[in-house]
Symmetry: D3
Subunit: 136 residues, 6 copies
């Protein structure tokens, strides 16, 4: 079994808040990340898939194909977007990195399976000091 | 003459647009960076000052003091903020990295001179692939 | 289950040696790392915790709280310190990165559990070419 | 159990192709990576070994010894070489990163076991956006 | 005056050698970099241009336009290529990083001037430990 | 004129203090950097030389030769050392990064000139957030 990881990047605006709470209540829970006027990040996304390399080709999934699927399914919906407002798979969710990782897993699992690859890990780095990982 | 550089970071939302133009016109000039719903970045700011090290202390400006001035004058006004709406020194300016660098120069030159340091360069990295430098 | 990692840094002096051995014997085992006059590193510490995100808040532990616990329990005892002499949880231990990782685990496991987070991994990068990981 | 990772680098030429296919057929499978005139990369190799630290020395394998074994067995055969033509352990294999990782595992497992270390992972980063991992 | 830098990458094969010399003589001058079977690198190219930002738009050259010019003129001729054999602007030159930087300057100076930007610096990083800069 | 930069690293212990002052007075000037029990860093040293490339060889100084001179003159005296006590060219100086940069300039200028290279810049990165540059 080989694990293949592709790194992509997107720059997005977001804020963390629960709509049923006041700004003051959200500030207590999420701090400056709940700023109602938004803030943003250069997010780094690492998608890891696993599979048995084909003995003829020497791989189980072409890295270029992996890049294209991530771009089409995820990056075009997040890059230079407001993820709270514009990203369909984040609708109705608090825009934490944790929820984002789980939502991206949901978007990628099936299309990657169609390529014969098993999704192994979604990793999102929000800043150079924080990242989350989700393994399904 | 010694050059001392301090690196700081801030995560902000912004959009590039000119208010006298339509969204369509702004899209032609600024592309996806003019998204009316905002986007954001992890900006890296590098401030370089120069001076003659004191022969007794071995430096001309304490790096901790440099950090504090950058934080008080710049970072608190940009980090987890919407720079178009909330950052006083960007009011009325197009939120390009070029304008941001020149505005930060304007904010830092005098307070650094009071410390005996000459501001040499403001460098802002918007993504890992783009940065601007301003030397006054 | 989500894995959340926080990266912190500390700059410390140390030497690797066993007090019951001579400097010459320590040099055979630890090489230049046993220099009796000390040397030092910019250490990078990555602490990974795991948990089930709360469906209301979208996380299981606030990254800021994680940072504060690491700072209070670990960083203040190591940053700009001599870890052999000044760091209580390294007393009587050879100052290898391996022992440091296990000692930091011991310091963090209980206070993180009090926050509802399960400690998953302590990773310490001593240089850009060497790191150790400990999973308890 | 402690996991120790050593990072090494090598700069090599390669191409991905199957000799029984035409250049055109290889181009369909491998794209520009099958260029018959070669291309190359700065590869990053991370070798992770695991073991129980000795209570006297505070480690289970000296990082310098780990570096030397990787250098002697792997780096001298790849650095500034054409891996398709000159690297004995890649002979007859398609020069994918996946095959390279499995071949390096084969070269390192036994000599590391002789040192009392268990090989845990071979990770190869071909570019800043792609890497593979092999766990045996 | 503002300085704008764009970072691009290319993976290429090369060797350093002078055709009028024997392999042995080339080995004395260029060492392992003269390997007749080639080797390669992930090169990082940083192109810096300078200009006066337009007071209306807030920039003097669109970073996307800069990226496109570098890609069309330089990257397509070097990425996944053998620069000694396939790159027209390196024909007849020893493939040192120094010569590469000067040749790229020659390719970019005029097309950038047509955009109203003055080429300031070509920087090429061959490995993480070596880079050259050329200012014309 | 081409500028060639070589990056090297060393891990050293140091403290900043003036021997004629008390520990308390040094603490006021240098803060935690004056800890009498030492601390340390992974320093990054970048040495930039300039020259006219030879039209035959395509360079003015071999990067390997540059590496060797830096190693012999600087790195062996600093790596895994206490720079206050063990580094001859720092004797009697406050161990600030500023003084270190100027001292390294003094050690390298003449031997590089013997190779036909003009020393242009000494850059020392003490942490990922601070660096100094000296141009003679």
């Amino acid at each position: 079994m080989i694990y293949l990881t592709r790194r992509e990047r997107f720059s997005a605006a977001h804020r963390m808040f629960r709509p049923e709470l006041t700004d003051k209540e959200n500030m207590i829970i999420y701090g400056k990340c709940s700023n109602p006027l938004w803030h943003g990040h250069n997010y780094v996304l690492k998608v890891t898939v696993k599979g048995e390399p084909d003995t003829d080709t020497g791989y189980f999934m072409n890295a270029t194909r992996l890049r294209d699927i991530i771009t089409e399914r995820i990056i075009v919906k997040l890059d230079h977007k407001n993820m709270n407002v514009e990203t369909d798979f984040m609708a109705g969710k608090v825009a934490t990195t944790e929820n984002l990782a789980m939502a991206i897993w949901g978007e990628l699992e099936a299309p990657l399976a169609e390529e014969g690859a098993t999704l192994h890990c979604i990793r999102i780095e929000e800043t150079e000091n924080n990242y989350v990982e989700y393994y399904g």
